[in-house]
């Protein structure tokens, strides 16, 4: 298994490198940011001086090299809008996003897995149908649609929960549900189908024939096998939530990275956008790596390769 992990880790690094190249390339594609930074009356001389100052007149690979070195030192440029280091801006807002993400993810796991398991066990009952109904509806709605409807129902009309900003726990509820809904639906459906497949197996029949209690058959035997695909899916889902958080944060005016990204896009604040993308992709790649490692650990067939 060690070899497996090392190979995967190496692949992850390569991907990260490629991603940084792509990002770098894209940002240069959108035109010279120099024109944004200077007032319109700037002379050609000024342009050239700023170019040289920013190192934008050097050949592309060199620029990339500089970029990479700087990035590793933690210098990812300065926000055009705030005139502060981009990395700092992003890191300031990261905790808020992560907290929301963790909440959404926890809701998803703690709700979806038991519901999925019992839905599979009690197939075609009311519980099963309503669970699947909720899941399908949830997966049919984009984040902003869920958010708007929740806000209308619980904030505007019922006046129960706040609809924007971050504060006490009450502020977390609506955004948390909005962010987590899609994940919950997905995890629930996967758990259910994985369990259904496993419950059909011969070894489950045998487990019952051994005289085990039904709850033990369900959780110790069936679930332990069904959880493998669910686990890998869940880690993927968590990382995808990062994308979904952009919309959610925008709707709920949540002071996180997602909202920063959207605003920076609108204001063409490239260094920040670049940084956000880099960090997101980095988290994503790390998440995938973790998933792979987790999968290898849990699946005895990979763990104990002769």
């Amino acid at each position: 298994m060690q070899r497996y992990i090392l190979v995967r880790a190496f692949q992850a690094l390569v991907v990260l490198l490629l991603v940084s190249m792509v990002i770098f390339g894209l940002s240069r594609l959108t035109g010279n940011p120099v024109y944004l930074m200077l007032p319109p009356e700037a002379s050609q001389d000024d342009v050239e001086r700023l170019n040289a100052h920013l190192g934008l007149d050097r050949p592309l690979p060199v620029q990339y090299g500089v970029f990479l070195v700087n990035a590793l030192k933690g210098d990812l440029g300065e926000s055009i809008r705030f005139k502060r280091p981009a990395l700092q801006l992003v890191l300031e807002r990261l905790p808020a996003t992560l907290r929301l993400g963790l909440l959404g993810f926890s809701i998803a796991l703690f709700l979806a897995i038991p519901i999925g398991v019992y839905s599979a066990k009690n197939r075609n009952t009311v519980l099963d149908f309503s669970a699947r109904g909720f899941a399908i509806v949830g997966q049919s709605m984009p984040h902003f649609a869920i958010g708007i409807i929740l806000i209308l129902l619980l904030s505007v009309w019922a006046g129960l929960l706040p609809s924007s900003g971050m504060g006490s726990f009450r502020y977390y509820i609506l955004p948390g549900i909005t962010l987590g809904y899609y994940a919950t639906a997905g995890i629930m459906r996967l758990t259910r189908s994985a369990m259904l497949e496993v419950l059909d197996s011969e070894y489950i029949k045998l487990a019952r024939a051994k005289g085990l209690r039904e709850s033990m058959v369900l959780w110790k035997h069936a679930f332990k096998n069904a959880v493998i695909p669910v686990l890998t899916f869940s880690t993927l889902v968590f990382v995808r939530m990062i994308a979904g958080s952009m919309v959610t944060e925008l709707i709920f005016a949540w002071p996180g990275v997602g909202r920063l990204a959207i605003e920076s896009i609108k204001f063409r604040d490239y260094p920040v956008v670049q940084t956000v993308v880099l960090i997101t992709c980095g988290l994503f790649v790390a998440g995938n790596l973790l998933t792979d490692i987790l999968y290898a650990y849990v699946n005895p067939r990979i763990r104990y390769r002769k």
């Binding site: 011969e202 070894y203 029949k205 045998l206 024939a209 332990k224 096998n225 005895p300």
Partner: protein
């Protein structure tokens, strides 16, 4: 050494360990009621081996599941009695049944690969049974696991116990399922086509193993198979099943020397004999759909000896001798 506490060879073999009376198990499906078992009766004595023979769909496996009361939905046991050690299993609570499953009656299934949980070591799976039925913990469990593995002739038992199913061969895996089944010294072992998915040579080894265990422990076995050869090798009694009913049951010699039911005779004719060149015989027609059985004898449409009464009433059972009973209108 495992000594079976039921090693009562001096006790009369007349004592019936398992006595099934008129067992009926139906499946209630969208397409109709499938009468998987429609009034099945047989018995197994202490230390005796009964073979249940039939084609696919005859109800053999449902019999096994019914005894353990593990008939899956949409099936239900709708009638009859199953006396085990003098008590009707159909009257017992679920909790009591759980004690019996694995503890007094065990089962081996057909496919050893899918019978074992890929997520646990072999030792874990054997140990689990020991833990629940014998209430042991820690090192004593491991000791019993190794004992069980030795009982089924698994070499290097202690090392094997920590391996996973996917690390073993088919024959080895089937021994493991045997070890699991025998770990708590049950009185009755139900073997549902245990050798069907094994290679022929491994098959022979496995049957030999079962024979040894039988002699050592005096365990009763119900051997479900479609192979008369195995019946000849392993069984004291044989019951032939067709479309949910037992059509003929007798001591094993009688089945071969003096078969009475046309289906039994046809099955025996289907066995190709080694050393002679002959045409392969098969039985005309198909097994009927269990939800739409014809009136009268279910085998009548395919029977070479059918008479008018065969399509009208199901044959009454008659005795050739106290051991040998047949359900057929044809008395010869």
């Amino acid at each position: 050494m495992i000594t079976n506490k039921n090693n009562i060879q001096n006790e009369s073999l007349n004592r019936k360990l398992l006595d099934v009376k008129n067992l009926k198990s139906f499946f209630f499906t969208r397409h109709g009621v499938v009468k998987a078992l429609d009034g099945v009766s047989f018995s197994v004595g202490v230390g005796e081996t009964l073979g249940i023979v039939g084609e696919s769909g005859s109800g053999k496996s449902v019999t096994a599941l019914s005894i353990l009361r593990l008939v899956p939905m949409p099936g239900k046991i709708v009638g009859g009695e199953i006396f085990f050690d003098g008590e009707d299993l159909l009257q017992k609570t679920e909790a009591n049944m759980r004690d019996i499953r694995g503890g007094q009656i065990s089962i081996i299934l057909q496919d050893p690969l899918t019978s074992l949980n890929p997520a646990f070591t072999v030792g874990d799976q054997i140990g689990e049974t020991i833990r629940i039925h014998q209430h042991l913990r820690g090192k004593s469990v491991m000791r019993k696991v190794v004992e069980s593995l030795r009982l089924v002739n698994v070499p290097e038992a202690a090392i094997r116990a920590n391996e996973y199913p996917h690390q073993m061969s088919g024959g080895m895996r089937q021994r493991i399922t045997g070890a699991i089944a025998l770990s708590c010294q049950p009185k009755l072992l139900i073997a549902d086509e245990p050798t069907t998915s094994l290679d022929v040579t491994i098959q022979a080894q496995y049957l030999e193993l079962l024979n040894q265990i039988r002699e050592k422990t005096g365990i009763s076995i119900i051997f479900i198979t479609h192979d008369f050869g195995i019946v000849a090798q392993m069984c004291d009694k044989a019951a032939v099943m067709y479309a949910g009913k037992i059509v003929e049951i007798s001591g094993v010699r009688d089945i071969f020397d003096n078969p009475k039911h046309p289906y039994t005779m046809a099955l025996l004719k289907c066995l190709p004999s080694v050393g002679r060149v002959e045409k392969l015989v098969s039985i005309e027609g198909d097994v009927p759909e269990l939800s739409r059985l014809p009136p009268g004898c279910s085998f009548a449409p395919r029977c070479a000896h059918r008479m008018e009464i065969c399509s009208e009433r199901y044959p009454d059972e008659y005795e050739v001798n106290p051991e040998h009973k047949v359900s057929c209108w044809l008395k010869r």
